[in-house]
């Protein structure tokens, strides 16, 4: 019962937080130099090429303003947006008026979700064992090699790893297709490229977290009671050392939902990242607000999920 109440309370907090985030986003865009909402500027520059008269330009601007709901005061624009956004209706975008934003997101979200989940699964499946081995073999060559590779994963940008993989596996060896997102073969390189960064972070966190736990009194007690390495680590140390890992996996996953733009572009993965990055560079304000909406919703939902998982990992944590 405590859990349900807790979830309801948190959902309400998420709801309020998103409203605040959207209001802040709108106000920031309104304050930003260059005026996000002034389609007139764009139209004027385009129109000049065709030497439109001011009156003709006004006709075009009026049409645009009506389509994008810019013909009302800012507070009303925010209200109209929020009203629709919580029903997942986001209207048209400047950069793609062919179809509403929600249709674009609905099509792209499963792709990004799959890429993010597979990459995170790869990161967890490799990162956690790597961190454990490094911690248990501290200051040995195994530790150094593990940490060297995890360091490489952190410092080499994903797109560079992607380019190298394409050269090796597509151009030279011709084992894998260089891009696309239909077959499992096409997914291998993007998943590895995206997953290596989080894998490195997880491995290093896992190592230090496990080392911290291994120095705790209760671990010494467990050994004193005659526990074997395997029993002490698996039963007492591992579970507790996973708590910080869960903390970082949540936001990392949320970031992957929108932060894979280079990899998406490189491997022609039709996901959300490209859409959202273009929103900022093209000053596509409906899409920009929506990307903020989706990103905040993802981060807050992930944090909620993480907090719920905490209790399963550590029974001392209670929901109040």
């Amino acid at each position: 019962m405590g859990l349900i109440k807790y979830i309801i309370r948190r959902l309400f907090t998420i709801f309020v937080s998103i409203i605040v985030v959207i209001i802040i986003t709108y106000v920031l865009m309104w304050l930003a130099p260059g005026d996000f909402f002034n389609i007139a500027q764009f139209q004027a520059s385009a129109g000049k090429v065709a030497t439109l008269t001011p009156e003709q330009l006004q006709v075009l601007i009026k049409g645009f303003e009506e389509k994008y709901g810019l013909n009302v005061p800012l507070w009303k624009q925010i209200w109209n947006y929020l009203k629709d956004a919580f029903r997942f209706k986001f209207g048209p975008s400047f950069s793609n008026p062919n179809e509403p934003i929600e249709v674009q997101i609905a099509r792209r979200f499963p792709v990004t979700f799959t890429l993010a989940i597979l990459s995170m699964a790869l990161a967890v499946l490799i990162g956690i064992p790597l961190g454990i081995i490094a911690a248990l073999k501290r200051n040995t060559w195994i530790d150094y090699i593990s940490m060297f590779f995890s360091m490489l994963g952190s410092i080499i940008p994903a797109y560079l790893i992607g380019v190298i993989m394409v050269l090796v596996f597509s151009v030279w060896l011709r084992w894998l297709p260089s891009s696309g997102w239909e077959s499992p073969k096409q997914m291998i390189m993007p998943v590895i490229a995206v997953g290596l960064g989080p894998m490195a972070v997880i491995a290093r966190f896992m190592r230090s977290s496990l080392l911290d736990v291994l120095n705790q009194d209760y671990i010494r007690t467990a050994y004193a009671k005659g526990g074997t390495d395997r029993a002490v680590i698996m039963r007492h140390a591992l579970r507790n050392s996973l708590i910080p890992i869960v903390t970082i996996i949540g936001p990392q996953l949320a970031f992957l939902f929108t932060g894979t733009v280079w990899i998406e572009n490189l491997f022609r993965v039709p996901g959300l990242g490209q859409l959202f990055v273009n929103a900022a560079s093209m000053r596509d304000y409906p899409l920009l607000v929506t990307s903020t909406f989706i990103l905040s919703l993802s981060v807050m939902s992930m944090n909620l999920l993480v907090d719920i998982i905490y209790a399963f990992l550590d029974p001392r944590i209670k929901y109040e």
Binding site: L60, R107, V171, P177, F267, S281
Partner: protein
């Protein structure tokens, strides 16, 4: 018995092999081409699909065919039009259509398709039509239809019968054939659109009249087109085209996943040229519908009024060195708006690279050795620009001038520094500019250099006044009042004085075409007087305020014109006269005289050409008929109906 069985097996095997050979002989010809990420297929939007709509999935009355010597590498040819005639005043164009053209569902393509489509695009239903990108803006009553004031049926287009289309224009246009090639001039299939106005364009639903039909599409990834079996007209032999968006073009090409790939940077170019196989598959062409260079920022610092300073800067750049050392041979030096070897460029004089002359001009400008000149600002976006760094270095080295580079967020950069009429916040300095032609049409021959006339070439004080009047003009849309005679008194007063000046301008302007343009009916004062009369008989307060506001805009509109005209330099006035002469004759004739206006504008040194980019690509040697798209959005490939894949 065993021998008999073996014989049968052998015969079956031989048959299979023979059959597979035959099948192989008829193997589907598939071509994969890199393409701009296409967010939809509605042709009238100014997005990647507008290039696809020009001859690949849709066709209009006219279209582009390859012509290596033509502007943009194309020539205009009739596609659905069979013949045409035009009235003496170039305002009524009548087209006879081919009778053999079909939609992909078998329906005939008729004049009614054009009429309905044009009225649909013009209607207020399409609120965000980028009308500046198409020919409808010139159709009779287009703006009234678009604003909702007039019914779409009043648009100047009519199917006289199934295969005769009449287009009536508000103003004479000599280049309608050229304008009718663009995507906003193609028809769409009425029944399909009306059956599902939101989704008619999706693969599986779309009905097209071009040589290829889109059958699948994943935004951010690819689109597949297959041959339209109902298409009648010239085509190549390719059955299926896969357009791939994004990715590592060259690597995809090397992996055998693309039949052509653009070369994106110097490193790729060098790699290709060093590779014995790739270098044989290399192609390049100049993007001569653009010019790349710099323009003075559009702020209000009087320093930019100094012609000799502007001239000195333009002459102090070693363009050869820039193209060789910085751009690695991927560009040609360009010191005039059109390059040599082009009918316009051949008649233009280039800006010389002459450091001594530049130094002398700088001294005459009042800044010997750069002394006394304030630090100027070169605005850029995106973090770094080696071309700008080179130019700034040349100015420092050759003239002793200090220019700092300031990085600006891209939206702000393009909207507030590069393309607006004026940038009140901009410091004295520059931005880069890559000025393209959007499509073949006479106005585009000037490649935006006519901004010199519109927004630069009058004293700073007048430019500032222009900006303020523009603000005032916008403010009229929201002003309260207009209910009493007292509100009208200042407007009537201004109307009187403005009319006197207007009359003098009309009487003294030597170019007849410009005079006619200024005095085109209804004139500003006729519109003003009409609004005043309407105001007198208006019943409601809203109506009264509205007429008063519109009259106020007529007055500020005329003030803007007079401020501009009276302060414009004599060179720019002359350039504008030549521009009028060019736009009032057919395209091929306009090309012959466009250089007069261009040269006058170039010699004002506000917008200065520096280099001409090359399009470079590798291409499957078996592939023929790949057309380079050289207009805005380019370089890329388009008009795929000419593609041929050799066996």
């Amino acid at each position: 018995m065993r021998n008999k069985k073996s014989l049968i097996v052998l015969l079956v095997l031989i048959s299979v092999l023979l059959l597979s050979g035959i099948v192989n002989g008829q193997k589907e010809k598939v071509v994969s081409i890199p393409y701009w990420d296409t967010p939809g297929l509605i042709p009238y939007y100014w997005q990647a699909q507008h290039i696809l709509a020009q001859g690949t999935i849709f066709e209009g009355l006219f279209g582009y065919a390859p012509d290596p010597k033509g502007l943009g590498g194309v020539k205009v040819v009739p596609v659905i039009a069979q013949s045409y005639k035009v009235s003496k005043d170039y305002k009524v164009w009548t087209f006879k259509l081919r009778k053999d053209k079909r939609w992909s569902n078998g329906d005939p393509v008729t004049a009614k398709d054009f009429e309905w489509s044009y009225k649909y695009y013009a209607s207020p239903k399409i609120q965000d039509l980028p009308a500046w990108a198409g020919p409808l803006q010139f159709f009779e009553n287009f703006w009234a239809v678009k604003s909702g004031a007039v019914d779409p049926d009043k648009l100047g287009v009519k199917a006289l019968d199934d295969y005769t289309l009449e287009i009536r224009l508000d103003v004479p246009r000599y280049d309608m054939k050229e304008w009718l090639c663009v995507a906003q001039a193609v028809p769409i299939h009425r029944k399909t659109v009306e059956a599902d106005p939101q989704n008619w364009w999706r693969p599986g639903k779309i009905v097209v009249n071009g040589p290829y039909i889109p059958v699948s599409w994943t935004p951010g990834k690819d689109m597949t087109l297959v041959r339209n079996p109902k298409y009648v007209g010239e085509t190549g032999n390719v059955d299926k085209i896969v357009l791939k968006f994004g990715g590592l073009g060259l690597q995809q090409y090397m992996a055998g996943e693309l039949d052509a790939a653009m070369i994106g940077n110097v490193a790729e170019y060098r790699y290709v040229m060093a590779d014995p196989k790739l270098s044989k598959e290399f192609h390049e062409d100049v993007m001569d519908c653009f010019w790349q260079g710099y323009q003075w920022s559009r702020g209000f610092d009087p320093i930019m009024d100094n012609l000799k300073l502007r001239q000195a800067l333009a002459m102090a750049i070693d363009r050869e060195k820039l193209c060789k050392d910085v751009l690695g041979g991927r560009a040609l030096p360009l010191a005039k708006y059109w390059p040599d070897g082009n009918p316009i460029g051949d008649k233009m004089k280039a800006i010389p690279f002459d450091v001594k002359k530049a130094q002398q001009l700088l001294a005459e400008a009042g800044y010997p050795g750069g002394k006394g000149l304030k630090t100027l600002v070169f605005y850029i976006t995106g973090g770094g620009d080696p071309v700008v760094e080179f130019i700034v270095d040349q100015w420092k080295k050759n003239l002793g001038i200090n220019v700092i580079i300031e990085n600006v967020e891209s939206g702000l950069y393009w909207n507030s520094y590069v393309w607006p009429s004026f940038s009140p916040d901009a410091k004295a300095g520059f931005t880069v500019i890559g000025a393209p032609m959007n499509n073949l049409e006479i106005g585009a021959l000037f490649k935006n250099s006519d901004h010199t006339v519109w927004f630069y070439d009058f004293p700073t004080s007048a430019r500032k006044r222009y900006y303020e009047l523009n603000q005032e003009n916008d403010a009229w849309l929201r002003k309260d009042g207009g209910l009493t005679d007292a509100d009208w008194a200042p407007l009537l007063e201004k109307r009187k004085s403005l009319y006197e000046t207007w009359k003098k301008i009309v009487d003294n302007e030597p170019e007849k075409l410009w005079r006619e343009d200024i005095a085109r009916k209804p004139t500003w004062f006729e519109r003003f007087d009409e609004l005043y009369e309407k105001w007198k008989s208006a019943k409601t307060k809203e109506e009264k305020t509205n007429y008063w506001r519109l009259a106020g805009r007529e007055i500020t509109g005329q003030e803007i014109f007079q401020n501009w005209y009276l302060n414009l330099s004599k060179e720019s006035k002359e350039a504008y006269r030549w521009r009028f002469r060019a736009i009032n004759r057919p395209f091929s004739e306009a090309v012959k005289i466009a250089h007069y206006a261009l040269q006058l504008m170039q010699d004002r040194y506000y917008m200065v050409p520096v280099y001409l980019a090359k399009a470079q690509w590798v291409q499957n040697p078996k592939l023929e008929g790949l057309m380079l798209y050289k207009f805005s959005w380019g370089p890329g490939f388009f008009n795929f109906k000419y593609l041929n894949l050799k066996d």
